[in-house]
């Protein structure tokens, strides 16, 4: 049963990773997919400059519209994110985000494992506000166009999925490498190192997409529930949680990625993950 759940989630993650990056042959020659599917956003974080990407990155798209000449806010992308968040909350991070799967694999590398200080989780809200929402709108050129500041200065997914493959296949792009690239490369190295030592370091500290979905954990239809009539207060769920959430105290914590590891660990079967009705408390 335990293996079944873990395997099921991993299979969903791999399938989502494959669906997000379906144009694998584009790596050869360093082309990017240019079809109409790219007007749609991926629910997870996946750079649209990755040669294999078939959909748009929602954070990149949010900044692209916000920094455009005509609009300062993207109703299209915000609506997409609200809809996905209302349905699934941060389950997107735990089940379908390609960069989330990558981070989990990195964390399997044998090394000392760290817990993160609680204040670090708030950094991602600052990144969302400043780099994704404010700077693309406020820091504009003479034509009124802003740049995607999160992509430009921070996003390690862009450097990894888009930067490295494209720079590796385009000598003319390599000639343009400058300080900005080295800044982003440093962020990438720190992020990858952080993910080895701390579970989903990027998700917990830096990801603006996770910040948005996390805020909707409280109202999402896909939810985590604890049945108090079954709970034996053993604390196993909290110890099992890689995101350092106590699901009994805060089942709707913005950090919870709905992976279900707590439900799997619960010896009393008191934790339920899914859609539908809440526990009535009478059925036991």
């Amino acid at each position: 049963m335990k293996m079944k759940h873990a395997l099921r989630r991993k299979l969903v993650q791999i399938a989502a990773f494959g669906f997000s990056n379906i144009h694998l042959t584009n790596f050869r020659g360093g082309r990017i997919y240019q079809g109409k599917w790219k007007q749609f956003c991926n629910p997870g974080l996946n750079c649209y400059s990755c040669p294999a990407a078939g959909l748009s990155c929602p954070i990149g798209a949010l900044q692209a519209v916000g920094g455009s000449m005509n609009f300062q806010f993207s109703f299209y992308v915000a609506g997409f994110l609200l809809a996905v968040g209302a349905l699934f909350g941060r389950a997107v991070c735990g089940w379908v985000c390609p960069f989330g799967l990558f981070q989990e694999l990195l964390h399997k590398i044998p090394s000392p494992k760290w817990k993160l200080p609680g204040w670090m989780r708030y950094l991602k809200y600052g990144i969302l506000l400043v780099f994704v929402i404010l700077l693309p709108v406020a820091a504009t050129d003479y034509m009124g166009m802003g740049k995607p500041a999160f992509c430009q200065f921070i996003c390690p997914a862009g450097t990894l999925e888009g930067g490295l493959p494209l720079l590796g296949t385009h000598p003319e792009l390599r000639q343009s490498i400058g300080a900005l690239f080295f800044l982003k490369a440093a962020v990438l190295v720190i992020t990858l190192g952080g993910c080895v030592f701390a579970y989903r370091f990027f998700c917990r500290v830096m990801c603006p997409l996770g910040a948005i979905y996390g805020l909707m954990n409280r109202v999402s239809f896909f939810r985590l529930e604890v049945d108090p009539s079954k709970c034996i207060n053993c604390g196993k769920c909290a110890r099992e949680c890689g995101m350092e959430v106590d699901p009994v105290r805060t089942p709707d914590c913005a950090e919870c990625i709905r992976c279900g590891d707590c439900a799997r660990a619960c010896p009393a079967g008191a934790i339920r993950l899914g859609f539908g009705r809440r526990y009535s408390g009478k059925k036991g």
């Binding site: 400059s49 109703f75 299209y76 915000a78 862009g158 888009g162 490369a185 108090p228 526990y279 009535s280």
Partner: protein, 72 residues
């Protein structure tokens, strides 16, 4: 200060479920809020499509984003 296993009871436990960090959020409230958010989201998407935002997204996504790869 309670121990890890000593989980205090929140107001929402009256209907049998602990919820939202102890906040008294009933299932009905939650479902309504989710449905409202979903309806608003659909409205946002339609309005965004009407304004032509999908074309901006497409235009950005089908070209190599120099900012994304660290050159912009």
């Amino acid at each position: 200060m309670s121990s890890k296993g000593d989980h205090g009871q929140g107001a929402s436990e009256r209907d049998g479920v602990r919820d939202g960090g102890g906040a008294p959020a009933s299932g009905r409230y939650r479902n309504r809020a989710g449905a409202l958010l979903l309806a608003a989201a659909c409205g946002f998407v339609l309005y965004g499509l009407f304004r032509g935002e999908a074309a901006i997204v497409l235009n950005k996504a089908v070209n190599i984003c120099l900012e994304c790869i660290g050159l912009g």
